[in-house]
Each structure stands twice: as C-alpha cells, then as structure tokens.
Amino acid sequence: MKQLMTGNEAIARGCYEAGVTLTAAYPGTPSTEILENMAQYKKDIYSEWSPNEKVAMEVAIGGSIAGARSLAAMKHVGVNVAADPIFTYAYTGVNGGFVFVSADDPGLHSSQNEQDNRYYGKAAKFPVIEPSNSQEAKDFTKEAFEISEKFDVPVMLRVTTRICHSKTPVETSERQEVGIKPYEKNISKFVATPANGRIMHVLLEKKLIELEKFSNETSLNRIEWNDKKIGIVTAGVAYQYAKEVFGDTASYFKVGLSFPMPMDKIKSFAKEVDTLYVIEELEPFMEEQMKANGIECIGKEKISNIGELTPNVIEEALLGKTPEMLELDDSKAVGRPPTMCAGCPHRGFFYELSRKKNVMVTGDIGCYTLGSAEPLNAMDTCICMGASISAGHGAQMAFNKNGVDKKVVGVIGDSTFFHSGITGLLDIVYNKGNAVTVILDNRITGMTGHQENPGTGYTLMGEKAPVIDIEKMVRACGVEDVQTINPLTLKESKDAIDKALATDEPSVIITKWPCVLKEFSQEDYEEFDLTESICQVDEEKCTTCKVCGKVGCPAISFGEKAKIDPTMCVGCEVCLQVCPFKAIEKVGE
C-alpha cells in the first residue's frame, strides 16, 4: 500500500533511498519537518540542526567535497542567508552529490516575504528542480543527486508550502547504498581563488549548455497530450491546480527541471497548440525565459504574481469563472490573529518594556515578534533574523550622532541569537555602541515547533550535547553589563530594563524561562520551578478595571468580572502582579 506523506517527509525518504549520509538545516517554516523526519534514519544518515542556514549549507558542502551525498534544507529567506557559499559551490562543482532544498512560502503563511527562489538558479547557475506532489518530492530528490554527480553541479530542489505540507500517496523503495566517493586533494577545483574562479566560470557555462540539452531529454520535463486548442506550460504545485481546472481539455508541458529550461522541447510544444498559457506560482520565471526565446505565451498579464496560486485564481483569470458561493457577511467572524500563549515567558517582559517611553524596540524573527501585536505593541521593527541587534545598533548610532535623545532596545530569541545575533553584539562592543540587547531565552527554538539549538543541551538526533551558556558567550563578546533574570517576575524585568537604559555602555539582559509548550527536560525541572498551578479571580475583589487585560493573555476574558480560563492558565502569575486590587490568586499548587 502507498503511504501518505507530506512533501517534507518524502524529501527525507528520498535522501534515505538515495544513499545520502549527511544532512543539515536550520528550522524554518515550511521546511522544518525535512530534517525532523531525517532523524529517523540516523543509523544511516548523520543529520544536524546547524546554528543558521549558511552554516548548514557549508556543512553539507563540506560533506559533498569529502565525497558523501549531502543535503541542506531551509526556507526561502534562509537561502538569502546561505547564498554566499552556494554561488561559489556552483563554480567549483561537487564530489559527492549535493542538493539543497529551498522551501518557498507563496501567500506568506509564516514568512516575512514571498520571494521566488527559482531566480537563484539563474543567478548562481545551478539546476532547479520542482516536484508537484510527495511522490515526485521523493523521486526528484533522488534524481537531483544523480544530476548533481553527473554534471558536477549543486542542485536546488525548490518546493513550496503546499508541497511541503500536503500529504499525498508515496510508493517507497529500498535504500541504495552509494558509499562515499574517494576524496582527492584538488586545489584547482576546490580553492576558489580569482585565478581558479576564472577557469571555473568557463567550465560552468559549458556545464549549463550540457544541462540544457539534458533538460530537453529528461523525463522530468514531459508532455501530456490532450486537446491541442490550449497548451499549458506549468511546474510545481501549479501543475496540479492547472489539471484541476482544465482536466483533459488542455495539453500540458509539465516542467520538473525548470532551470535550465527545456527550451527546444517547449518550442515544439508551442507550435502544436493554438493558445499557450504559462501557469506558474509567484514570478514569471519560466514565462520571461520563454518570451526571451520568442515563444508567444500568456502568463502574468492574466495571473497575478502576488499571493498564493489556487485553482480559483486560475479559473477566474483564464476562464472568467467565479465560484458559486453562499452569501455571507464577512464582519460576522471576528479575526483570530496568533497571540503569545497563556504562560508565555515573553509576556511579562514585553509588558514592562511596553511601558517605557522614548524607547525604540527593534525586534526579530520568532514567537516574540507577536510582542508587536495588540495590546502590548512593544516592537517598532522586524526585518530578518539577527537585525534586532545590528539594526538596533545602527538606529542608536544615528540617534546619538544627530542629537536625538532616544534609547534603542534590540530584542532577540535564544536560537536567533545563535543564528545571527552574535556578530551584531560584537559590533556594538567593538564600535562602542550603547544600544540595549535583550536575549529572550526560552530554552528552545519556539516558533517553528520546538527544535533543539546550541543552548538546549540536545541534538537533532536526540543525543546529549554541550550547553552553550548564553551569558558566558555575551561576556566573551566583551559585554560587561549582563543581567540574567526571570521574566515572569515583573519587578525583576522592570529593574533590569531601568538599569540597562540608564547605562551608556553596551548592556545585555537575558530573560531565562522555558517555553510553556516545551516538553521539559530533566535539566529544566532541576533549574526552574515548573510546579503546575493556576491563577483565579476573586470575584469579590475584582472591580473589572481590565488592567489584567493589558498583558494580552488569551486565558483572560471579561464578563461582569474578569475570568481566567482554567484549562489554558498555567499559573505564570503575570496577571496577578499587575492587578491593582490583588483580586487574582494562585491555586492548586
């Protein structure tokens, strides 16, 4: 029987079947489960969470140079972080097969932008492969390793949220042991000096010509003939949507290897059909190349490059059909934005921070980005991983230089600090900045669903690991003013913020308490008081002043009196501390 697998599970399975022995990643939606699923193959595959995507990419490149089939996985914006090594690795070529996954997020389900990473293939000159379901995600992963070794190039497997997170049937097969290729020192190939690079570039251009020939021949790019009035060139999940809308009424050119494109084969397909559509999600990546090759086609002038593609979008754009729907009043369903969980250790700290006037808070990527939401509104910016500290430093220096009396507080999570916060902090110390840095250490990588990181004491494969002590690391960066506090105690938070704002030196606050959703480790139980209890409202004392509502806890609501949902409350006591009438008490310890 076929098994239902997400695209991410299928990519992990594909690696297993392809004889891969090394994989690395930094978690990021929608790519995270690729490596989470790799852990089950730990007997055969070494896998790791690396501190960031660039490190993951380089680890996998190292594995490949050593001769092992290797894979790195990341979300689309992670490829930006990892772009430097991959541009060069395209020049040098590989030893063991090398594939990296770019998991793009059309529709921004959980991202800060919806960039189309296929352009990386064109810019850095490596092949791009796009599966359209889980079976292909597995099979194309294996094919990608073959292509990588055959043409001596890194290969990008480009997937999107709907491929990553949709379960579709997969036929599995056995692992093919390929072993490790012999490693031989080869300076002219692997040392990318300008002299070597000039030669490598020439070789790479030749490889691309060979790859384009291959693209015209491979079954990754195939034609499905039906009625020839309409022809559709499509790739990835867009192929499934196109089939959903047009069924057997159109012929399809299904592109699986979308760079270099099978241009000759597409040209002959185009000649056979009356009208040619290009149906692709996000940018006109294929369409632009086709038009540059003189192929007449209709694409983005009809189908938007904004947002997630759906069968509805295609139907409306190309057939002018709008769906028959119930008549609804959209105002009836009140919004449901994500919030910090009841008991989230970030809440108390943000509550205190939000009360500070004349402060700019530069935020970062993680659960704590939700500190920007109502009612806390405790964040001014969020750009990318690590920018809280470095952009915060830049803002502080700009204020200082221009005589603006304003303090900047950069707020970053533990995993994000390891990812790309350390260099920003070094910058503050080195260039004598005075921005405040807050590291919200909740003992886990939270937003992506609890992955281990250098601070947690465990590895992806479940082994014990050295715990990197954030305070020691901060001190090693040269920061002398370091305070480690319990963020659930509001007075501690307030005092730490006041002290940090008053100093003119680089200053760091580390808030340390485990994420409320975390599966606590033995070490967590030893270090923190995690006794289960809840808070409840003494209705006699409650005046319904709603001050407790200002902490933004989803367990608190208001009827005639304030009410705390006992199934959600974990007794963090933040509301208890803000109540001016002492009407909240702790019970059930």
């Binding site: 379901n133 997170h165 579709t168 089939k243 959903e244 939700l370």
Partner: protein, 192 residues
C-alpha cells in the same frame, strides 16, 4: 468511482484537527481512494485559525479546495465555521461544534464574540448539524476527545462509516486513549 470529494476541517490550534484529519486520510487511503490532505502550519500553534483540507476520489489533483467547492465543512469552533463558509458548496453540509473559543479581539472586550453565530450559519446553510462535541467528550471523560466525536459525525455525514475506523483509530492514538476515542467516535456517529 464518483467525483472527488472535498472535506474542510476548521478550528483553532490545539483542538486536535490535524489528528482527526490524519485518521480520516489514513482510513480513506486504506479503502483504496486517492487522497490528498493539506494543512496550514506555522503561526497556527499560537492560537490562530487552523484548517486542514482532505480531498479523496479516484484521481485527485489539487491538494487544496477551492471556494464554493467543499462537500462538507466540519467546524471544531463555531465562529471558525462562519469564517470558512465561503468554501462550502451552496448545497453542502456543515457540521458545527457548538463550542466557542474567544479570539484576541473579543478577549480584550473591544469586539463582542458573535453569540448568535449558529443562527447566522443556519440562515445560510440548509444542511446544518450542530454537535455539542465538547459536552459529549467531557461526559466521556476528556474534553480532548471532542475531535474524535466530530470525526464520527463527519464519517456518518459523508456515508463513509463502512471503513474499519476503529482499527485506523487504534493505529493513530496512544494505546491508553484508544477506548475513550472509540467511544467518542461511536457517539459522534450517533449524533448525526
């Protein structure tokens, strides 16, 4: 085999929607259907709205359901039911859990929770079944089983209750929860 069927499950993070969808999909694939299931991850765990989409039939292409295309919507939370009704076929079935989970704007007291939402749904959906799944689950001993109560109602409504669901259930939940969930499934099937 007939046309592809579209099932939309909606609710709030933490209600067990993903598990219910997984059991549904596993059962359908064991019965020989082509199945595709799509879920939205990421921010959902932080109290956001959660949807999963299950499509099954002879040959399923798209993993997602279009607007006005769902044969059935099963809502684990009643306001979420209304939010997603645009995806229901005009003559489709709605199974709605009579259960409210306030969202951030209603908690702050700025916007009231729409208490009459079930009536609003009834005004537009002809084929509506309201299930007090939370109450049933509490009676059975654990509110967390409300997802399986709703799954039972869904299977009955879709007339796919002839698959060996108890077996699929046993493969997908922890052993100690199997008896509770079997009861929940049976109760859900009865309540339609």
């Amino acid at each position: 085999m007939e046309k592809t069927k579209n099932v939309l499950l909606v609710g709030v993070g933490g209600q067990g929607i993903i598990l219910a969808s997984k059991i549904l999909s596993q059962g359908l694939i064991s019965a020989g259907y082509d199945v595709k299931m799509s879920e939205v991850h990421g921010m959902a765990q932080r109290g956001g709205s959660v949807t999963t989409q299950v499509r099954f039939g002879e040959n399923v292409h798209s993993p997602i359901i279009g607007k006005g295309q769902a044969d059935i919507i099963v809502a684990f939370e009643k306001m979420e039911a209304y939010r997603w009704l645009g995806y229901l076929k005009p003559d489709g079935i709605a199974v709605v859990n009579d259960y409210a989970i306030p969202s951030a704007p209603t908690l702050s007291g700025n916007v009231p929770y729409p208490e009459t939402i079930i009536d609003d749904i009834a005004a537009v959906v002809k084929n509506l079944t309201v299930v007090k799944a939370a109450d049933i689950a509490v009676e059975l001993g654990n509110i967390k089983a409300q997802n399986i109560v709703l799954l039972g109602a869904l299977l009955k409504a879709m007339a796919i209750d002839d698959i060996d669901w108890e077996n699929v259930l046993a493969e997908n939940v922890k052993e100690k929860f199997v008896p509770l969930n079997k009861k929940a499934l049976a109760e859900g099937m009865k309540h339609l």
